[in-house]
Symmetry: C2
Subunit: 363 residues, 2 copies
DNA sequence: TTGAAAGCGATACCAT
DNA sequence: ATGGTATCGCTTTCAA
């Protein structure tokens, strides 16, 4: 104790050289400055701002006023160190060559927006082996939880998730999801809903125009939708067929050929689970045959992410809403942070049918 | 949910119940544990790992061995607090409706990869008014610098950048870039290069098939390329024309019409600065007229981000490489962090011409 | 309802 | 070449 214990370098300078300079308005105020301005202790400031213990209305107001006036923003690092919470979620997104950019972007965006609504930021995990990134950010306590995008049926991130000491939420459902928190559209229910619409309208031969071939290996939901469609069609006793919309990405010629084939085979009800350009191609073939959607043939777009109002003719849809999935994912993450012991949840979002007049009674 | 989490479960348990349990191998070792394992002080560990002062080869090895064995990862929050560096860059990306998703995603990705190469992570700034996000992360010392994507000619983030106390780097060049660090492809040079190729090959009437109309208002580089093309064509004494490829996004019919018009008007050299589908449409019109690219007409794709090998016929390109821009951006940010006083830099990446045989000598 | 003070886990200064 | 320790700015006990 031979030295005078100065609280901070900043303070020293303040006393010695710039006694009145306080950095007001530049957003670098610290909690002790807010405390001084409000005439309370720093713990009171902390509690008043976090609401973690009751504060007299009067004190709270003074603290809030001071904080606002000084443009106080808690230091993220200090908060993380003392509070053991970073208010950051990692978002892992593997980058396969066949990734549909617009859809992917919609999910990244939705995740970011959903997180911000609950006071979280999103840290991107791309490059490196997804697993290494997850381990790195978890081990360094950089993030509070991990959100997993673009889930594969047999995803390597499942094993990592189980080994991490921070929560992980899957947006998509891996085959082995034991003990994991997951959220996704209920693709099975969506397929059932769509098939039922067609069959109820009297269609006796239905076709599914699906995603690209790789999607059925690399992603988790296309197979779920396809097998559910098949089962339901069989259960309802109608003929059914299935075609990919390309090998790795939409192949317009393949789509045109498959739709033509289907029409030749007597298909009258189409279910499309593909990208926007595949819709365009399919509708074009139908139009070229002088057939009218909603009269001669029926079409339903399933798990649609793009804006169907730009299609040449209106189409009924069962939309896949990124913001819905991401909001649930954020809630699941927060819930598990609050209670690590709660039972794991697979949250299936119920599909919603939007009519546009593309399904007509079969005569 | 009314339960309060105990602040330091680790500490409590460690002392009270499991005195020797140390969580080896699960990546939660702290610096003092590494120090003990290596038989040195914590400051030695810190220096050995950061390389900020010389360490005897022997101790360095012991420290590294201990760190590896314990799976030591420095606590991000503690490091940020003590070291005043978070190793995180914010990436702001405004989300206009006309954003070309694949290109945008390529840049986000490239930024993330480039950052990781220099030990930085990327925090996404999407939702909220871009300015508020920037201010928030800067004021809370959440990030070391900000990277700005999708720069508008008159970008609101320019003003914010000037008011922040952390560095900002623009990937794109706003009109008013005084004192700012910017990086971008040299679009002017690219246009000159392309026009020269065509004119040198004997073409006397050239056309630019540009981006969508909004892009010329909302983004910074389309106008730069367009005016440079115009000037160069005039300087070289050849006739020139310009058309958008749509209003807000590619409009295939508009593209077809404009290419047809151009051909009727005697254009023999095309410069395309548009999305992939616009290329397809343009090449289709040419093919339908029984004209052959590289013989009857010449085509150059400028500032191309997608993979042109998928086009129906090979096309010369002057590529826009996201990773190149983003790597420079990261370097600029790091350079400014190291030396806040250095002169601001507008780094123009020199265009590179890639031949594919789509430009032929005009006979 | 409030305040004082003990950490949180690193970095980097000052010694030796 | 290495070690001791003040410090970063907050959260949360413990005391009053």
């Amino acid at each position: 104790m031979s030295r005078i214990c100065s609280p901070s370098k900043r303070f020293e300078i303040g006393l010695a050289a710039h006694p009145t300079f306080d950095g007001e308005g530049d957003g670098m105020a610290r909690i002790d400055e807010v405390a001084a301005a409000a005439g309370v202790s720093i713990s009171t400031v902390s509690y008043a701002l976090s609401g973690k213990r009751s504060i007299s209305p009067d004190t709270r107001r003074r603290v809030e006023a001071a904080a606002t006036r000084l443009g106080y923003q808690p230091h993220a690092g200090a908060r993380a160190l003392a509070g053991r919470r970073t208010q950051i979620f990692a978002l892992t997104e593997p980058l396969r060559a066949d990734t549909h950019a617009p859809t992917h972007m919609a999910f990244v965006l939705a995740a970011s927006v959903a997180a911000r609504l609950r006071e979280y930021d999103i840290l991107l995990l791309t490059d490196e082996q997804a697993s290494k990134g997850m381990q790195r950010v978890a081990a360094s306590d950089l993030v509070d939880a991990v959100l997993v995008l673009d889930v594969a049926p047999d995803d390597e991130r499942v094993a990592i998730a189980r080994s991490l000491r921070i929560p992980t939420v899957f947006i998509g459902i891996p085959n082995d999801h034991d003990g994991l928190d997951c959220v996704d559209l209920d693709f099975e229910a969506a397929a059932v809903m769509a098939v039922d619409r067609l069959v109820d309208a009297g269609h006796e031969h239905v076709a599914l125009l699906g995603q690209s071939e790789v999607a059925y290996r690399a992603s988790n939901f296309p197979p779920r939708l396809r097998s559910s469609m098949r089962e339901r069609a069989e259960a309802r006793g109608v003929a059914h067929r299935f075609d990919h919309s390309g090998r790795t990405t939409t192949d317009v010629r393949a789509v045109r050929a498959s739709v033509a084939d289907a029409l030749d085979a007597g298909v009258t009800g189409f279910l499309i689970h593909a990208a926007e350009d595949a819709h365009d191609a399919a509708l074009a073939v139908i139009a070229e045959r002088r057939l009218q959607v909603g009269r001669d043939v029926s079409v339903i777009s399933v798990a649609t992410v793009f804006d169907t109002s730009r299609l040449p003719s209106p189409v009924d849809t069962i939309p896949l809403v990124p913001s819905a999935s991401c909001e649930v994912a954020v809630e699941l993450a927060i819930a598990r942070l609050q209670d690590p012991g709660r039972a794991p949840v697979v949250h299936l979002i119920q599909p919603e049918y939007r009519t546009a007049g593309s399904v007509s009674r079969r005569r």
